[in-house]
């Protein structure tokens, strides 16, 4: 159990009511080998019209966090604690039918692998129209019209023709655009985008990023952008949450966090990215391995890889607001003003 003092006050700097506030979320998988604490103390806020980047290495629990928000965690997994407040309503407590009415309607998700997200035996129009009809009472023709308009919006040429195609007739980039169009059909208030561009090549990636950013600003949609890639986050996101071993270890505005990271893990991640001011330096890697989520040692999960680890780190550090608007889960953070650093 992670002890987190983040009770009700969230990021203080932005006072307006957030679209989404996740508080100490815990999602565990009860496998035969033991309990996998895939998400074990995740807290962050996403504001209206803003993009929050969610980064962390493979297996840190980003996707499971996304699924938890949409209520899509499957056996043997279960949300065992915490709150997911969507406009103040706790999604973790919602009945399945109520949750279903939100999904794809007010909260949408885009998956990681565009080759796998569309059903291979159904035509694209079927897959779009059914989404419209799942949430609104319109005629099939109106639904088709809306599907066509949305396809046009994400930059698919001759949408009328494309609607009648099967997914395998599209390229990867086109398929991801279709998936994005499906997510946008109901102009959701929140989109969880799970590494939507990782599988695509760089130019298409840049195109899609620009379009998504524009759409978000236009429609006031809040977005969680899950990624491995700090450079994408730097260009796209407003806020940043960093996950390590199922926990958010740092959360704050993207520029400040990348300039002056507090948590040693964030610091390590940034150090491994080649950047302008560090050109010429060799890439640094964070030594050591991601711990197995099955038997996490007590105390700070980053301890065995942390350059600043001390004896105190054998206790679990709480996620605390170390600087105004900036939270981190560390006893000995970097980049603290002189008097604050003990």
């Amino acid at each position: 159990m992670a002890v987190s003092p983040v009770a009700n006050s969230s990021v203080a700097a932005t006072a307006s009511a957030p679209t989404l506030e996740v508080r100490n979320l815990q999602t565990h998988f009860f496998t035969r080998a033991g309990v996998v604490k895939a998400v074990d103390g995740v807290s962050f806020t996403v504001q209206r019209g803003k993009v929050m980047g969610l980064v962390g290495e493979s297996g840190s629990g980003k996707t499971v966090t996304g699924f938890s928000i949409l209520g899509l965690v499957d056996e043997p997994g279960r949300i065992v604690g915490g709150e997911i407040l969507f406009h103040g309503q706790n999604l973790a407590k919602l009945r399945e039918e109520e949750m279903r009415r939100l999904r794809g309607n007010r909260i949408a998700m885009i998956f990681q692998d565009p080759m796998m997200t569309l059903n291979p035996v159904l035509r694209v129009d079927t897959q779009m129209i059914e989404t419209v009809l799942a949430h609104t009472k319109v005629s099939k023709e109106e639904a088709r019209q809306r599907a066509r308009d949305t396809l046009g919006m994400v930059g698919i040429p001759s949408p009328d023709e494309r609607l009648k195609s099967y997914p395998h007739q599209f390229s990867g980039g086109m398929r991801q655009r279709v998936a994005i169009a499906i997510a946008l059909l109901h102009r959701p208030e929140l989109i969880v985008a799970d590494e939507p561009t990782t599988a695509l090549d760089v130019t298409i990636q840049a195109q899609i990023l620009a379009e998504v950013q524009k759409l978000c600003a236009q429609t006031g949609t809040a977005m969680i952008w899950i990624t491995h890639d700090l450079t994408v986050v730097a260009g796209l996101a407003d806020e940043l949450a960093v996950m390590y071993a199922g926990r958010v270890v740092e959360h704050g505005p993207v520029n400040e966090t990348l300039d002056k990271p507090l948590h040693p893990y964030t610091n390590g991640l940034i150090g491994s990215v080649p950047s302008r001011n560090k050109r010429g330096e060799p890439l640094r890697q964070i030594p050591g391995m991601t711990p197995s989520l099955l038997n996490l040692p007590a105390g700070c999960a980053f301890r065995n890889r942390c350059p600043k680890a001390q004896d105190k780190c054998k206790q679990a550090p709480p996620l605390g607001e170390l600087l105004p608007g900036r939270q981190a889960r560390c006893f000995f953070p970097y980049n603290m003003p002189a008097e604050a650093a003990a």
Binding site: A33, G34, S292
Partner: protein, 310 residues
């Protein structure tokens, strides 16, 4: 750019199953025993096998010795005491044969035919499959075409035709079953061998210039064993059922040494008049035998299938 983070993650954090420090054999046994049904299947099968093997010593009567049969005792209900002074617990058939003894002896034939044909078919099929995998080229094509042809032809038809040409008899039934079944083994072994061939240890063995025969018997064959065992288990059950079916149709074993299928067939005409036991009990024996083997086979497949293992 997305490759940069890969540097920070030397290995994906897959949840590793708790490492068990057991030998492969011990683990195999404990995994097999995880299914209570499979364990039950094993116990029942062992009992059946013992009954079949020791039938001449434990059966109340030798059902093949016509001198011991008393026509006067024909079609007696289960539980009646016959002229010979012992109780027919499962009744008698039309010739006065004690059904219990008939079933015990019938099991002998069923198991002999089932296991015998499986062993021979396995030897033939495995050799041909190995040859196909190892020789490749035209040999491979010819063998696999034969396999395809064989597999696309329903087993019952193939067996019927072979028996129609060769005539009845235990050996002919075994031969027919071997011809019907070898293809399954051949396909299995070829598939596994092709995968195993690419493995490093084969390359290593080839580098050491070991003779082909040694590579096959020391390296390839042991690795083909798990899938072969699974196929063989399932095929024994199928062979037993097929033999019974052929005998029922009057094309299997001769009437003087009835197998379970023939016993059931004999009871057919009396069933309409309510004398159910002549067909019923041999059928139960057949069913229990096949189910016990299939229960084991199902679990074996799960345990030995590397694909399902996490």
């Amino acid at each position: 750019m997305s490759t940069t983070t890969a540097n920070t993650t030397p290995a994906a954090a897959e949840p590793v199953a708790t490492p068990k420090v057991e030998g492969p054999w011990r683990r195999f046994i404990s995994e097999f025993a995880e299914s209570k049904l499979a364990l039950l299947g094993l116990i029942v099968f062992v009992i059946i096998a013992l009954v079949a093997i020791f039938a001449p010593w434990i059966a109340p009567q030798n059902p093949y010795d016509l001198a011991q049969l008393d026509i006067m005792d024909g079609r007696m209900e289960p539980g009646t005491v016959g002229g010979a002074g012992f109780t027919y617990w499962l009744g008698t058939d039309d010739q006065g044969r004690d059904m219990l003894s008939g079933i015990m002896y019938g099991l002998r034939i069923s198991l002999l035919v089932g296991v015998g044909s499986a062993v021979i078919a396995c030897a033939v099929g495995a050799s041909l499959g190995m040859l196909a995998a190892y020789a490749g080229g035209r040999t491979d094509t010819v063998i696999m075409r034969l396999v395809d042809l064989q597999l696309s032809f329903p087993s019952i038809l193939a067996a019927l035709m072979i028996l129609a040409f060769l005539g009845k008899g235990v050996m002919n039934v075994v031969l027919a079953l071997v011809i019907v079944e070898w293809a399954y083994y051949a396909r299995t072994v070829r598939g596994t061998a092709l995968v195993e061939r690419r493995r490093e240890y084969i390359e290593a063995a080839q580098c050491l210039a070991l003779p082909t025969r040694r590579i096959i018997f020391r390296h390839l064959l042991p690795n083909c064993m798990p899938p072969l065992i699974v196929v063989a288990t399932m095929q024994i059950a199928r062979a037993i059922a097929l033999e019974a079916t052929l005998s029922f149709l009057g094309l299997g074993v001769p009437i003087t040494e009835p197998s379970l299928g023939l016993l059931i067939s004999n009871g057919y005409e009396y069933m309409l008049s309510g004398k159910y036991w002549i067909s019923f009990y041999p059928g139960i024996a057949l069913l229990v035998t096949i189910v016990s083997i299939n229960l084991m086979g199902d679990q074996l497949r799960d345990v030995l299938n590397p694909r399902l293992k996490k």
